[in-house]
Each structure stands twice: as C-alpha cells, then as structure tokens.
Amino acid sequence: MLVLVQHFIVSRLVILHASPDILTVFIAFVSMSIGQRTGTTYGFAAGLLSGFFTGNIGLSALAGTVEGFTAGYFHVPEESHATSVKKRRMYYIAATTALLSGNLLQALLSDPLSLPLYIRLPEMVILGTLMSMMLGTLMYKLVLKKLLKD
C-alpha cells in the first residue's frame, strides 16, 4: 500500500529532480523499532516492490537493503525501557541516516537525466533527504508516535 502511495502520489512531488521518499522513512522506523534484521528484510522487500514499478528492480532492492541495514544501528530494544524522547531522537537519526545512504547510492548508480555529479548529489541526497524528513516528521507526529508508545 505504502509502495503504491509512494509511487503514484508522493514521487510526483518533484522539486529540482528530487522527491520525498516515505518508504525509506517507514523502513527506518521498522529497523529502529523492531531490529536491524527485520529492517533489512523490509527494506529489501520494499525495494523490490518499488523497483517493480520503476523498472530498476536491482538498484531499488539494493538501496532498500542498505537503508534498512544502516537504520538498524539505531535500534532501540523493547527491554531497554527507553524514554519517548530517546526513541524520537533515534527515529530521526535512523531516518536521516537511511535516507542519506539510500539517496547517495541511487545518485551514484542511477542517472537517466545525465545530470552532473555536483548537481545530482545536492539535489538528490540533500534536498531529497530534507523533503523526506519533512514528511517523516509529519508521519511521526500523526501515526508513528502512537505506534512507538504501544
């Protein structure tokens, strides 16, 4: 469902060749709250599905895997009884790291518009991450915050 929303709605909000990515935010959330292994698996599966629509199956799966794996380093175990402030902080760090790593990988390995690297990197990595984090913040405040408390 999230793949469909990402592909048909969110990815159309293009500003300077960059668009937000709610899939990565979700993968980071899963990885941070459940664990690195699950996050990596979710990332791979989400990447495969996303690639099914875009045609870049391999690259999307690879980016998803890397995103899930890197976000897993900020996993907060259930038994740690971490405060909600710490959980929130870890969520933002995990999402930012996942977005930066995934966008960087996509910017380096895919370039159908043939943009020079000095344009591609700031647009896709920095602007893409910023846009996604804005959506990520919104998602956290509306939905994810409640899930974390449970």
Partner: protein, 279 residues
Amino acid sequence: MLSLFRFIAKHTAYLYFLLYCGISILLMQLQRKETLDAIRERGLAMNASVAEQLSNFTSIFTLRQDNEQLLLQNARLFSQVMHQQQELRDSKAMQAASAEAPAWARQFRLARIVDRRFSATDNMLVIDAGAHQGITRDMTVLTPDGLVGRITDVSQNYSKILPVINKDFMVSVVSDSTRTLGLLSWQNGDERIAHMEHVPVSSNLKVGEQVTTSDYSTFAIRGIPVGRVVRISKDKLFCNIDIRLAVDFSSLSYVLISPAKPSREKIEIMGGDTGRKGQ
C-alpha cells in the same frame, strides 16, 4: 561446528544484509534478461493502468473526446503534409521519387501519454498503446512538431518510450540546407538543448538550420524534424553544436507512432542489434 552456529546466530543481520545485497546486485546484472523483461513488462502494465485511472479521474470526459477527434484529424493532416514534403524533397534529387514515397507517412497511430517521469532516477514516458495495437519495440515516436523518442518496452496495452532527452538516446540526423550529417544525443540538464556530434570543423553547417532524422538511422524514419541549430563552436577536429529540440516535453500529452519497422536487414548488415542506444 557449535562455534559456527554461534557465529551465524550472532551475525544474522550481517548475513541477511550480504544475502540481500547479493540478490540485488544479481538483479542489477540480469536487468536485461528475458525473465526480468517479463516482470518489468507486467510492472509497466500495472503502473500504466493505475496512472491512466488517475489521469482519467482528473480529466473532463467530453472535452477529452473532442480533443481526441481533433488530434486524429491533426494527425491525418500532418501525415499528408509530411508525405508531400518528402515527395517534394525527393523530386529534386530524382525523378522517380514519388513512386517510392514511404507508406508510413499515411499510417501514424495516435496514443495518449498516461505516465511520465523526468526525475533524476526515472526518465521515461508511457503511452496507452501496446502489442494489441500493433506497437513493437524500436518504433519511432513523434508529434507534428518533431521527434519524441523510440519504443523500448511493450506490454499488451502499453508501451514505454525512451525520449530524446535521455542520455541513452541517440539518432542519426542531417541538416536541411547543407546536408551535414551527425549524431544527435542529449547530455545535460537543459530539457530543450541537445548536441550534434561527429560534425567535422570543415562542415558548412549554419546557425538556424533545421535538423531532421537521416537515412542512416536504424530505427527512425527519415525526415522527422528534430530541432534547429542554435550554437556552433569549433574544437580541434569536430564542432560543438547545440540543437534546440522541436518538441516541448513539458507540455506533451499525445504522440504519434510510426508503424514503419526498423529494417532488420540493414541492422544485420551493419553488424548486429540496435542495442539500447540505437541510432
């Protein structure tokens, strides 16, 4: 043995990561194999059908029908004009040209663009015509303004177009006045400017000349307008030529597909497949 199991249990996440990365890289390598082509075809069909539903939802129904009729009429007129222009050009070169006038000019198919992507990761167009409508790979896509691209993937009812403004696209072109030949490609971020390559410094090409597809192309029919020369600068051996593209990709909603298929015989004698880039 026990320590091996312990090691695996301790590092499962890393093993998963390596496994998924391996599969992903394998998929990237196999991207052009037949099975993946079939998966991509299905993905394209699903993608296009959902995108079509979304675009239908927002369009005004009767207005679209009227528009389609007008465009069909326009396509018919355009094919007649192209046909006549081709005849006129050929008659200057040889007397029997009218007898050899191409049949394709009368049989363009009209298709609607149902999805488009011009982002840094995904650069393509999808039209609502596929194998059922007689579309095959490597067919030429154009508008009355000029060349749009070529068909790269075909599903039952949809096709994917590799547009001129993609770095993988190349086409052989010729200028209308000085008959200068070159290879058109697109290599930078400006959506309206392409480059003409392999033009020697001794060429007489002038700014303002129109550039059309040439006879040497392995997929495009000849005589389709591509753009106009806007800048020429000379290098050591070749000229650097900027071409302003005839088609405005930002406002493209309908395209024409030429049913003329690429000459396999010509491609074979040239030594192989058109490849992804073609010319």
